[in-house]
Subunit: 203 residues, 4 copies
DNA sequence: TATGAATGAGGCTTCATTCAT
DNA sequence: CATGAATGAAGCCTCATTCAT
C-alpha cells in the first residue's frame, strides 16, 4: 500500500512539533512543560504527537541534537571568509557578542544549559553531549592551532585549554544573563573576554 | 513546659534533612527528586519533614542560602592574610583550582547551576539569586579596585566586567565538568584562566 | 478533526459525574466525600473526573446551581395556571408539602443546607448563595404583592418579611426532618405553616 | 497516691479546651478546624488535649451537649416570672429577637446547625440530637397546652406542630442570617413570626 | 500530667501515555 | 493517520493521633 500522506507532509508536521516543543521547553523548562502544552502550541492532537515521537524524552533529545547542529553550522559558515586565525577568532567573538539577546535567543540558551545539566545525570546522554561539545571544542582548537602555526599566537599555550575557557565563558555569561536579564551588558562583556583571550594568546 | 527535645536535637534533625535533601537534589535534580526520596534518605517520615520545612521549595532555598553562605565564608577567610590585591586574586584562583573535585563537590555545583536556571523562570526567586550573586561579585570587585588604587592593575579596566567574566568562567567550567567528569583538568584550566585574567589586569 | 465523541456523550458523562457527586455529597457531606468516592461511584477514573471538572469545589458549585435552578423551574411552572395570589401561595405550600420525602429528596436538601453553612464562611461563595436565595425570595414577594394589589392580602404587611419567614420555615423543617426522619409529619407541618401564613396575610 | 493536681484545676483546663474548641469550630467549622488550632488557641499542648478528650469527635460532642444545655437553662429561667401562656410565649419570642446578633452569637448558632447536619448522618449521634430537640420541643408544647387549658389559645390546634414550626423558624432564620449577615433584620423578622404564631394560636 | 516531635494514612491534583473510534 | 477521552501512578501536603521523655 502506498503511504497515505507524503513524506514531506510528515516531515513538516515533525518539524512543527519540534518547534512547538522548543518554544514550550524554553518557556517552562523540560520538566514543567507538558505534552499538552506542546500539542496546544502546535495545534495538533496528542495522538498525532505520539505518531511522530514516542515520548517526551525523545522529542527533547531530537531537539537537542538538531539545535546543537544548527548553531554549529552557522558558526562554521560565518568563519569561512576570514584569512588569519586572529581574524577568525575575533569574528567568533563578534558573532556571539552581536547575537540578538532577545527573549527568544536567551531562552534557546537556557534550554541548552538545561540540556547539559540533565544530560550530566544520564549516562545514555552524556556521550551525546561530549560528542556535541567536542565539535565546538575542535572547531576552536583548529583556529588556535592555525594561529600558532602561522606564528600569530604563542606556541607555549595549550590550545585545548584556551578553547575550553572560551566556551566556559560563553556558557557562564549566558547563565548569568538569564538572571540579570535586560541590565546585563552581554556585548561589552563578550568583547572584553575576547580581548582578554587574544591578549593571552598573543606572544 | 520546656520543649521536650533540645534545640540541638532539632537543629541536628534539620541538618540531617538538609543533607539528605542535598544528596537527593544532587542525584536527581530539584524537579525530579521527591519528598519521599528525601525522607527515605534521611530515615524520617514525611510528617517529620513538614515539621521542619514547609515545602520542597523551602528546603531547597534554605539549602542554597546555606551553601552560598558557607562557600563565601570560606572565600573571605582565605583571603584575609594576603597583602596585595594580586596575591588575593591569585589565592582566589588557587582556592577554586584546588577544590576537591569529588563527586560531592561537583554535585553541589550542579544543584547551584540548576537552581540558577529554575530561578531565572521564577520572579520570586530571581531576586534571591541576584542578591547571592552580588555578594560574590562585590567581593571580587573590591579586590580588583584595591589593586587599581595601589597601581597593581590598570585603571582603564572596568572592575565589574572582569569580575563578571571571572564568575562566568567559574560557572562555565563547572558546567562543563559535569559532563566531562574525571577527565576534566579543572585545576589546570582554572590556573590558566587565572593567568589570563591577571595578564589582562596588569598594566 | 471533529471530536471523536459526541457532545451528547460528554454531556452524559458530565451528568453521570454530577449524579455520583450528589450521591456522595449527600451520603457523606461535602468535606467528607472524596474525589475517590465520586469516581468509584461513577465507575470512572480520577483522571476522567478532572477532564470534566477542575476541582471538587467546582463540581459542588455546578451541582448547586443546577439543583437550585431545577427546583426553581418546577416551582415557577407549577404556579402558572393559578389565578389568584392566594391560590398561588396555597399551591406553593402544596408543592412543598407533597414533595416525596424519600431519602433522595431529603439528602438533596441536606446538601443545600450544608452548602449554605460552608458558603457562610467563604466570601467567594456567599455572593452565589445570596443570588440563589434572591431568586426564591423575589418569587414569593411577587406573589404576595400581587395579592396585596388585588386586595386579597392586607397591605400593612411587609411582603419581604413574610417571604423570609416562609423560606425560614422551609429550611428549618428540612433541617429537623434530617434528624427525625420517617416519623416527621412534614406534610401536615407544612400545611399548618401554610395556614398560619395565609391567616396572617389575610385582612 | 493522691492526685497531683486538684479536680478544680483539671476542670478548669477542660473548660478552657471546650471554649477554645467552640471558638475554633465556630470560626472554621468542625471539619476544617484542627486539633492544632484548638491547642494553639488554648495555649496548651496537644498531649494535654488528649489527656482531657480522647478525640476531636469527643470534644465536639461534649460541646454540643453543654451548649444545648446552657441555652435551654437560660430559656427556662427567663420564663419563670410570667403568668399567662401568652406572656410566656411572647417572652420567648422576645428573648430570641433580642439576642445580640454579634459575630460570636451567630457563630454559636452556626456550630449548632452544623452539629445538626453532621448528626443527621451518624446513627450514634442522631439519638442524642433527638433528645436535645425534645427538650426544647416539650418546653414549648407545655406552654402552648397551658394556654389551651386556660382557654387563651384555640384547642383545635396541635401544640406539637406549632412548636415544631416555631423551632423551624428559629433555625431557618439563623441559617439565612449566616449568609445575609449585617443586613438581616432578625429582630423584626422574629417579632413578625411571633405575631404570626400568636394570631394562629388565638381563637 | 505535660510536651511536642513523629507517624503515616489519606486527600487533592497532575500528566505521560494509551487506545477506541 | 488523527482525535482526545480515559487511565492511574505518582507527587505534594495535611492532620488526627501516639508516645518517648
Amino acid at each position: 500500500m502506498a503511504p497515505k500522506v507524503s513524506e514531506e507532509y510528515k516531515e513538516k508536521k515533525r518539524q512543527d512539533l519540534l518547534k512547538s516543543a522548543m518554544a514550550c521547553f524554553a518557556e517552562k523548562g523540560y520538566q514543567t512543560a507538558t505534552i499538552d502544552d506542546i500539542v496546544t502550541h502546535s495545534g495538533m492532537s496528542k495522538g498525532a504527537f505520539y505518531n511522530y515521537f514516542s515520548s517526551k524524552e525523545e522529542i527533547y533529545l531530537t531537539l537537542l541534537k538538531q539545535s546543537v547542529y544548527l548553531s554549529f553550522q552557522k558558526l562554521r559558515e560565518a568563519i569561512q571568509s576570514k584569512e588569519t586565525a586572529k581574524e577568525k577568532l575575533k569574528h567568533v567573538f563578534d558573532i556571539y557578542s552581536n547575537l540578538d539577546f532577545t527573549k527568544k535567543s536567551i531562552q534557546n540558551h537556557r534550554v541548552q544549559i538545561e540540556f547539559w545539566i540533565i544530560a550530566s545525570r544520564n549516562d545514555n546522554l552524556i556521550d551525546h553531549m561530549k560528542t556535541h561539545a567536542k565539535v565546538f571544542h575542535d572547531f576552536l582548537i583548529e583556529i588556535i592551532e592555525e594561529g600558532q602555526k602561522k606564528s600569530e599566537f604563542s606556541k607555549d599555550i595549550k590550545s585545548a585549554d584556551v578553547s575550553e575557557i572560551f566556551w566556559a565563558i560563553t556558557d557562564g555569561l549566558f547563565l548569568h544573563m538569564l538572571v540579570e536579564k535586560d541590565e546585563f551588558p552581554m556585548k561589552r562583556l563578550y568583547q572584553t573576554a575576547g580581548k582578554m583571550i587574544l591578549k593571552y594568546l598573543e606572544k
